[in-house]
Subunit: 171 residues, 2 copies
DNA sequence: CAGGCTTGGTTCAAGTTTGAAACAAACCTA
DNA sequence: TAGGTTTGTTTCAAACTTGAACCAAGCCTG
């Protein structure tokens, strides 16, 4: 089949998307590196842990939540562990498993740096969008994520007792 | 001032955004790494060069267009040069300047791999959005990029004769 | 036109990411 | 229950990114 090239409308959207994501990523990373001494991804890991019961998660679940590869997560958690913000434990129910748990210090860092982070997200993103656009953005991103996430997002196994999931709060 | 936390609407949008951008980036990178042997950024560099008069650009202009840092660009161009896809030249008008020029081989690689890339962008992104949403996405991203790009996007100096700019085509 | 500031690029070390391979525990299935 | 497959995680080397120096070449201003 001959290539379905992008329409000029799509091209503009794609280019704007690339530019916006690069710039936004840079802004967020720069601020967090400054104020929390870690890149955004690492902050996200802490944030995700903080919102879950017992503030701990199995590596694979954490990778799934943050949409990153396992090896990337392993590296990140190792660094965070070295910094004392996360502790690794063995999974009691599954000898293969490994659990990342937020330490008190990790929680403290999170609490201390969250305001600055949120402020940056606001200043970089939401301050420039109308409420309507925020809704549109969510819808658009949810659709994209949903489509690309097949296989990763198999239905939550609530019937499996030892694998709790939880509800979402912050960044 | 007390922190303006995100509303739950904003939180959902932010999380969806993070997920979507991670997943999309991964999908695009994976495909290009497979089929073109280079990550998306490197492909973008070639693409940007291909669309500009004479298929060459000063490093700083190229960095500006792709929204990346100069040092990142230096590294990338070095690799592309090693691969024979880009050639470096000295800027005739400015002794400090350095120019990256797309080689014929670079152009060939681009032409060979563009269809697969476009197809992936389509399959990963546009196929999941309505025309209306594409417009919304562009508007949203343009606003974000515009806001974050101050200082980088000083008015195009058309009055400077030796620094041509040009119109945009593909990815 | 000398000294100093600015601009365009590169370099370097430290940190991060990638993807494939290695391991080990758990889960079959005959 | 032995052997083979799947699943959870780490490891390793190669590639990439970061940010702070650094080096030149232009651009003042006195």
């Amino acid at each position: 089949m001959t290539t379905r090239w992008l329409t000029s409308e799509e091209q503009r959207a794609w280019r704007a998307y690339i530019a916006a994501t690069h710039l936004l990523e840079d802004a967020i990373d720069r601020q967090l590196q400054q104020d929390a001494g870690m890149p955004h991804l690492y902050y996200s890991i802490l944030a995700n842990l903080s919102e879950v019961p017992d503030r701990q998660l199995r590596m694979t679940d954490l990778a799934e939540k943050t949409k990153i590869t396992r090896s990337r997560l392993t590296y990140a958690v190792s660094r965070l562990e070295k910094d004392g913000l996360v502790r690794r434990e063995n999974c009691k129910w599954d000898g293969r498993g490994s659990i990342a748990a937020l330490t008190d210090e990790g929680m403290a860092v999170l609490e201390r740096t969250a305001p600055g982070h949120v402020e940056t997200v606001r200043a970089s993103l939401f301050d420039h969008l109308s409420e309507e656009q925020v809704r549109q953005l969510e819808e658009i991103c949810a659709q994209i994520a949903g489509a690309l996430d097949e296989g990763g997002s198999r239905p939550t196994p609530d019937e499996v007792p030892w694998r709790r999931r939880s509800a979402p709060p912050c960044s």
